[in-house]
Subunit: 301 residues, 2 copies
């Protein structure tokens, strides 16, 4: 008998407090910061969580840290679970789901954690046998300046935004399952169209990472780069992010990012002219508009 | 008898612990966040600190908060002090010193706190009677996303960088006095040429403020601007800064800022092309260079 653990009651009690289920209920593929933190966060709910990673030492560490209760020897073994969470780098999501597809039961629910969505949802749409109805694209927006299972924490998503991008074909029950998991991890669900999501994150996340990297490069020639205040430290904090991961993220959201960068480039040039010409009125208006937008955004979030 | 409190021994004990000096030893002109915090920080050292601000209610609040021990009725009264700290907005520094100059004793030491230095040092050089030898330009790099005496704290400068820009004409004793005050407030002194300072802060502080404001403006049209992660929050924190103050700061450092903005604009455009063309190699190199620069900068500071 299958246990629909996530569908109706979120918590499952176990006789004698011991595991009596021989298969994983939740499977996590990709045991980095995000996958590991999901595993740690789910431990409160007494699921049997199985995990796999392309790096065997990440599986060892995930077991050791208690992020998973059992290991898979291949991603295909994850197909036994009721809920599969793909937390690999973006490039690996669709290939992973292609390997899983032939083994999946139709009632299994799948979600991913990639920071780009249009390409992935498009890729999932093309998988045979079709799995789009049981797939709910997801993007937890937390902790991306760190990486690796070593940095995973049970409360990484507490209070964070977590975008879900169901499509018209998505099964209602599948959406409900993923949404419950997200709430269970303490995050807040935001619903978006996949392309809308990508435009959002291009501006709100991807471009800031590129700008931070470029600002750091500009500072290389300074004689006292350490003479900086809090604004610089904050603005360039994400320059410490994993270059490999962020290159993948950027490569998956090229059109939206290039659009934002070109707009920003034009604006920087216009601001340079304003400053050169001593146009205090418009410089002040820029600062005032920025502050007002910041205040509104703070209130809404 | 004048008391050279700052020159030789930094702490002055007072008989019975009561004030017995009828004049201010330290004068603070401009009682905002910076002036107020300097006043609060100096209280540990038992100086008689007098203060003036163009806004009488700021003087009241500075007295009430204990940032100053007495009030001046005009900036000219500050001339009686051994050390004068001008903590007004940048535009007001040179006009204030022009008013003070006829009343100053030659041994009085003067410093300012403006975030731009070349224009101010140039302006001080032109003041008659000449006060350049007794003036040490300063720039405490802390707390500029807040403003007002209400936000002042005694430890605002603890661990912060504080640039001093003495010139070839600066009196050695004057430099030593200001340097001791900075150390007494817990900050670290960095020596720079005024123009070098301005190039530094254009990149490390002024341009980040303009970029943050512009990024916030870009986000105005989004349907869920609140769906953002820590990178966005950090990167746009300074968009809350005081528009009036920052317009003045920018207007005083126009050439250096415009130069950095134009370079950044060109770079943003080139990065857009890299991203559009799917040039993962160079995107990754950008992230790697940025991370390496961030790591080096972190180690040096």
């Amino acid at each position: 008998m299958r246990v629909h653990i996530l569908h109706d009651s979120f918590k499952l009690s176990r006789p004698g407090g011991r595991w009596e289920i021989s298969r994983a209920e939740v499977a996590i593929i990709g045991l980095g910061l995000i996958g590991g933190s999901i595993g740690l966060g789910l431990q409160d709910f007494s699921y049997a969580v199985g995990g796999w990673d392309i790096d065997p030492s990440a599986i060892d560490l995930a077991l050791q840290r208690g992020a998973i209760n059992g290991r898979f020897d291949s991603p295909e073994e994850a197909a036994e679970a009721d809920l599969i969470v793909v937390a690999t780098p973006p490039e690996a999501v669709v290939p992973t789901l292609e390997r899983l597809a032939p083994h999946l039961r139709p009632e299994t629910v799948i979600t991913d954690c990639a920071s780009v969505k249009a390409e992935i949802v498009g890729g999932v749409r093309r998988i045979a046998p079709p799995i789009l109805p049981q797939f709910v694209g997801g993007h937890p927006m937390a902790g991306l300046h760190l990486s690796g299972i070593g940095n995973a924490t049970w409360n990484l998503f507490e209070g964070a935004a977590w975008v879900l991008t169901p499509t018209a074909e998505t099964d209602r029950q599948a959406y409900s399952t993923v949404s419950k998991m997200v709430h269970g991890l303490g995050a807040k669900v935001y619903l978006m169209d996949p392309a809308e999501h990508d435009r959002h994150v291009a501006l709100l996340s991807h471009v800031p990472h590129l700008v931070a990297a470029q600002l750091m490069k500009e500072a290389i020639g300074l004689s006292y780069p350490q003479v900086s205040g809090g604004s610089w430290r904050d603005m360039t904090r994400v320059a410490s992010s994993d270059p490999g991961l962020w290159t993948e993220i950027v490569m998956n959201n090229r059109e939206a990012i290039a659009g934002v960068l070109r707009r920003l480039s034009t604006e920087m040039d216009q601001i340079a002219t304003m400053v050169e010409e001593g146009d205090a009125f418009n410089v002040r208006r820029l600062f005032e508009d920025g502050r007002e937008a910041k205040r509104r955004m703070g209130r809404e979030s």
